[in-house]
Symmetry: C2
Subunit: 294 residues, 2 copies
């Protein structure tokens, strides 16, 4: 997926481009050409504006493998790791680094892109943030820095299972709006403190609920979502990420943010939302520290 | 998948047929025709031998939806629920029931086929049995009956994740023999009692291990296997299925049985193997109680 935003100095989005040209489909040698072609109209209208690149474009299979800054890290540390390269058209592109938490076992955890969203949210005041997605991230902000984080494979696991055998009776069922009661039912199954927290055992309840006549085919996907998202919260709770009554800030698109707001409430958290344009604000915040840095 | 075995009175397998005609691909109205066509040579050579059907052919999308016998259940209870129907060729086919454990939360657990394997293993003496597979089963045998069981979605989850984003660098890597050191590394990650047992958080270590240079692309699939199978054992341990030094009997094909033997050892269990032909022996044991029952 190629995503570009044309942004003014205040961070207002003037235009956006989204295409299927991603690091999975475009060879490394083709990245600059894709970029040049896609933003040619912006170049024609606005000249050589600075370009900032965050996320998987800076990963091992991306354009340039960017280092991971180590936690704890603030905006200065992120800005200090930015690498700028010159393009064939004379402009430049600045790659933003990722972030690593070396305290995570058994291997250091990593993020690419979410650190920029956290910078856009702002690293004051102290708080706990959840960024739902394919690889959902929980992050702690304290003393103006991102101090630690943990990845959960929630979105990838949900996506796979919703198209797999266990969800088969749900296949082809229309699902315009989530069935929130089925979602809550799944959350309850994950939350039930009288049962151990295991995902492998609980997942089969998607099928056994249908077999028992307790879940209709059109409810299975939302029940599955409740079980998987609820298990993320259960695991985070087991790991000491939160206690009852704690506040959590959710950064994500409207649909996922609502899913996580409901899960947060079910687990006794007090949810709030970060800004929808956190990524843009994060690029600007990091860019503002780059002056003279290169 | 259609599987048929031609068996003599002592349970020796004289011939076997395996084709892609399964309940996913053949319409309900076509089951009898597929059966008749596939076993026509056996009919010609041996006449109208009795036929026993176990497993998913007796499920909701199968030929005949068979009831689930409730735990605790012995061979008599399983035999008492068998249903026999007459075929167009004048022969008969006897469908074996499934088994349900209504104590499992949030919905009663179910098995179809494994109860027949357990009957073939024999319900004396008391023991704990693991049947690895797409939907792995842990079962307790006590007092001549199957008293309880629990399903873990280990095989389905492993299969999905081994072909998904997190395993991407491993795609196309040859894997003739499992890399047992990578498998053990994954088991250790799941077993580490200093860390909570969450699968969603631990799964991402497949990718971070590769990023950290600790896992080669060709090791990622076996490491993933260790994490997922190890999490099954960790969850079973959390649920009170076993303590250190307990014996466990593994029933499964050679490859999976070895994977589970190693996992059992890593978790302090004393593993043994059930017979490879447990399903055949189970059909015969149940059939032996059918005389006069219909």
């Amino acid at each position: 997926m190629f995503r570009a935003l044309l942004v003014d100095a205040a961070g207002a989005v003037l235009d956006r481009i989204e295409t299927r040209d991603g690091i999975q489909s475009v060879p490394k040698s083709g990245f600059e050409e894709v970029l040049a072609r896609q933003i040619a109209p912006w170049r024609a209208a606005h000249g050589l504006l600075p370009i900032y690149a965050a996320g998987m474009i800076g990963s091992r299979n991306g354009w340039l493998e960017m280092p991971y800054v180590e936690t704890p890290a603030g905006i200065e540390a992120l800005a200090g790791a930015v690498r700028k390269i010159t393009l064939a058209d004379g402009g430049s592109i600045a790659f933003l680094p990722g972030l690593t938490d070396k305290s995570v076992k058994p291997f250091p955890d990593v993020m690419r892109g979410e650190e920029t969203q956290l910078a856009g949210l702002g690293l004051e005041p102290d708080r706990m943030v959840v960024l739902p997605g394919t690889h959902s991230k929980w992050a702690r902000i304290a003393g103006g820095r991102i101090t630690r984080f943990q990845t959960f494979m929630t979105g990838e696991v949900f996506g796979l299972l919703s198209r797999s055998f266990v969800s088969q009776p749900a296949q082809g069922q229309a699902r315009a709006e989530p069935d929130w009661s089925a979602f809550a039912y799944g959350l309850d199954a994950a939350h039930d403190r009288s049962q151990p927290s295991g995902l492998l055992s609980r997942l089969f309840s998607v099928r056994t609920g249908w077999l028992a006549g307790k879940l209709l085919p059109e409810q299975m996907t939302d029940y599955l979502s409740g079980v998987v998202v609820g298990t993320e919260f259960r695991e985070a709770w087991n790991m000491g990420w939160f206690g009852t009554g704690d506040a959590v800030t959710i950064i994500g698109g409207a649909g996922l943010a609502e899913v996580y707001r409901r899960a947060a409430l079910a687990f006794g958290l007090v949810p709030g939302f970060g800004p929808a344009d956190a990524a843009v604000q994060g690029c600007l915040a990091i860019a503002a520290r780059l002056d003279g840095a290169d």
